[in-house]
């Protein structure tokens, strides 16, 4: 009886150990899902280090996890476990993003579309922060920096040379401006008197501004036109040349 009891305890001990092992493994590998989800198949050209268990964000809220990934022909077939209350329209944009520059914090971002229909297979893009590409670019930049050589690179020398050159240029410019400036002054005085002339007090000003004068000139012009027309029609009335 005691032996049986001991055997039962040992059995429970080992079975509980195995269960904890399985629970820990499923928890740590991100497979422990207590949510009510459905599977969404997304094809990616490149998953840039996305892992099973990484979150799926919809409008910045975690609404699922990456459940499985495998290579299918030339693409990566990813299965996302999405919460049942979220419907993914067929025109949604699905991309892989990175939270930080470490590059290990990938997540799948879903921008919901407006369609009423869903698709059986979705296509995702890679929009993550590509540290490797940045590294390559930095390498080429470093190469450029290494090749960028100045004979005696001294910032102080360059600054003093630039100051000297600028002072010299300014002096030349001042000299060059001095002659024309006097002429400009004369021109300004003349312009000033012209402005006074046109301002309205003088004859020219009145000619330009007086409505009365304008009306008179217009009437005169009309009278002249009618006179000329009349002369054309009845020249005898005005030009009466009698030789005899």
């Amino acid at each position: 009886m005691v032996k049986d009891l001991k055997a039962t305890f040992v059995g429970i001990f080992i079975i509980v150990g195995v269960i904890i092992f399985v629970v820990l493994y499923t928890w740590f590998s991100g497979r422990l899902g207590l949510r009510n989800t459905y599977d969404l198949v997304v094809m990616f050209d490149d998953v840039v280090g996305l892992r099973i268990g990484d979150p799926v964000m919809v409008y910045g809220m975690e609404k699922g996890k990456v459940k499985d990934m495998k290579i299918d022909q030339n693409k990566i077939k990813s299965i996302l476990a999405i919460d049942r209350n979220i419907m993914i329209p067929e025109d949604s944009k699905i991309s892989i993003k990175s939270i930080s520059m470490l590059g290990a914090d990938r997540y799948v971002k879903i921008e919901l579309g407006s369609s009423d229909k869903t698709a059986s297979v979705y296509h995702g893009s890679t929009g993550g922060f590509d540290l490797e590409a940045l590294g390559n670019q930095l390498d080429s930049l470093m190469l450029v920096v290494k090749n960028f050589k100045l004979g005696d690179f001294d910032l102080n020398k360059i600054a003093s040379k630039l100051t000297r050159d600028m002072n010299r240029s300014l002096k030349t410019l001042t000299k060059a401006i001095k002659g024309p400036s006097e002429k400009i002054e004369h021109l300004a005085i003349r312009l000033d008197s012209l402005t006074t002339l046109l301002s309205g007090d003088g004859t020219v000003g009145k000619l330009m501004k007086s409505d009365e004068l304008y009306e008179e000139v217009r009437q005169t012009n009309q009278a002249l036109k009618s006179l000329v027309e009349d002369i054309k029609e009845n020249p005898d009335r005005y030009i009466n040349i009698k030789v005899f």
């Binding site: 032996k3 001991k6 055997a7 305890f9 040992v10 001990f13 080992i14 509980v16 150990g17 195995v18 904890i20 092992f21 629970v23 820990l24 493994y25 928890w27 740590f28 590998s29 991100g30 892992r51 268990g53 990484d54 979150p55 930080s100 290990a104 914090d105």
Partner: protein, 245 residues
């Protein structure tokens, strides 16, 4: 006995204990008894040790890292520490202290009181009868105890982080999951398998070595614990180099 003869004697004892022709049916009950003694008997102390290990790891990781790294890194640090090192090592050291000494004392007393001689007279192989169940029992119990320890340590760490350090369960869990690797998880368990052999074998070996009286029995128990503790740390390094190096 110099070091080389000690190693040679130990190796002979180890192979004699494990590779003697034995039938599972005749040893089954004694193996069960040992799993009960080592596994279930050590469970309370392992749970206490693991709980405080998880709490201390979380407090220390937070103290050293908070403000400089994202908070989920605390989960990563505690998770990896517990899975790779603290879980297997502390469990093995505790089981070594508790069980290797008792094995050495038990077998040593049997040697002193000539019970082992009586077994031989009855044509019962003392290695098969005494050593094998203890080594196999430790081999079965220690990985299971390690799993318990890891689970308890992480659970207590997560609870403490949630209620006292303002690191929610989801964030702590995210840290563990995100940098989880199967190698870490299984590496710790592989370590515990090696440790179990060391604990069982050294406990029995020093018990069989006893000659004389009660004083020798006490000394055998001390040797068993000291040698198994040293060997655990040496093996920890070697297995770490092999698996993670």
């Amino acid at each position: 006995m110099n070091l080389f003869s000690l190693i040679g004697d130990f190796a002979t004892f180890f192979f004699r204990s494990l590779f003697i022709p034995w039938k599972f049916r005749t040893s089954k009950d004694r193996i069960l008894e040992q799993v009960y003694n080592i596994g279930i008997g050590s469970l309370p102390i392992i749970i206490i040790i693991a709980a405080f290990t998880g709490l201390v790891s979380t407090v220390q990781a937070t103290y050293q890292m908070i403000g400089t790294v994202p908070r989920y890194i605390i989960g990563t640090t505690v998770g990896r520490m517990v899975l790779i090192e603290l879980g297997p090592i502390l469990t093995a050291l505790m089981v070594s202290g508790r069980c290797a000494s008792s094995m050495a004392a038990e077998i040593g007393t049997m040697r002193v009181t000539e019970q082992i001689d009586a077994l031989e007279i009855m044509a019962i192989d003392p290695y098969r009868f005494l050593s094998l169940p203890r080594i196999v029992g430790t081999f079965i119990s220690l990985p299971v105890l390690t799993i318990f320890a890891e689970f308890v340590a992480l659970a207590f760490g997560a609870v403490y982080a949630h209620y006292f350090l303002n690191i929610p369960f989801s964030v702590f869990s995210y840290g563990i999951i995100h940098f989880f690797s199967m190698r870490d998880f299984l590496g710790g368990l592989v370590k515990s398998l090696f440790f179990s052999i060391v604990i069982g074998a050294s406990g029995c070996y020093f018990g069989f070595l006893v000659k004389g009286g009660a004083k020798e029995v006490g000394r055998a128990a001390t040797y068993a614990v000291v040698s198994s503790s040293i060997l655990i740390l040496v093996l920890d390094f070697l297995v770490a180099v092999l698996i993670f190096g």
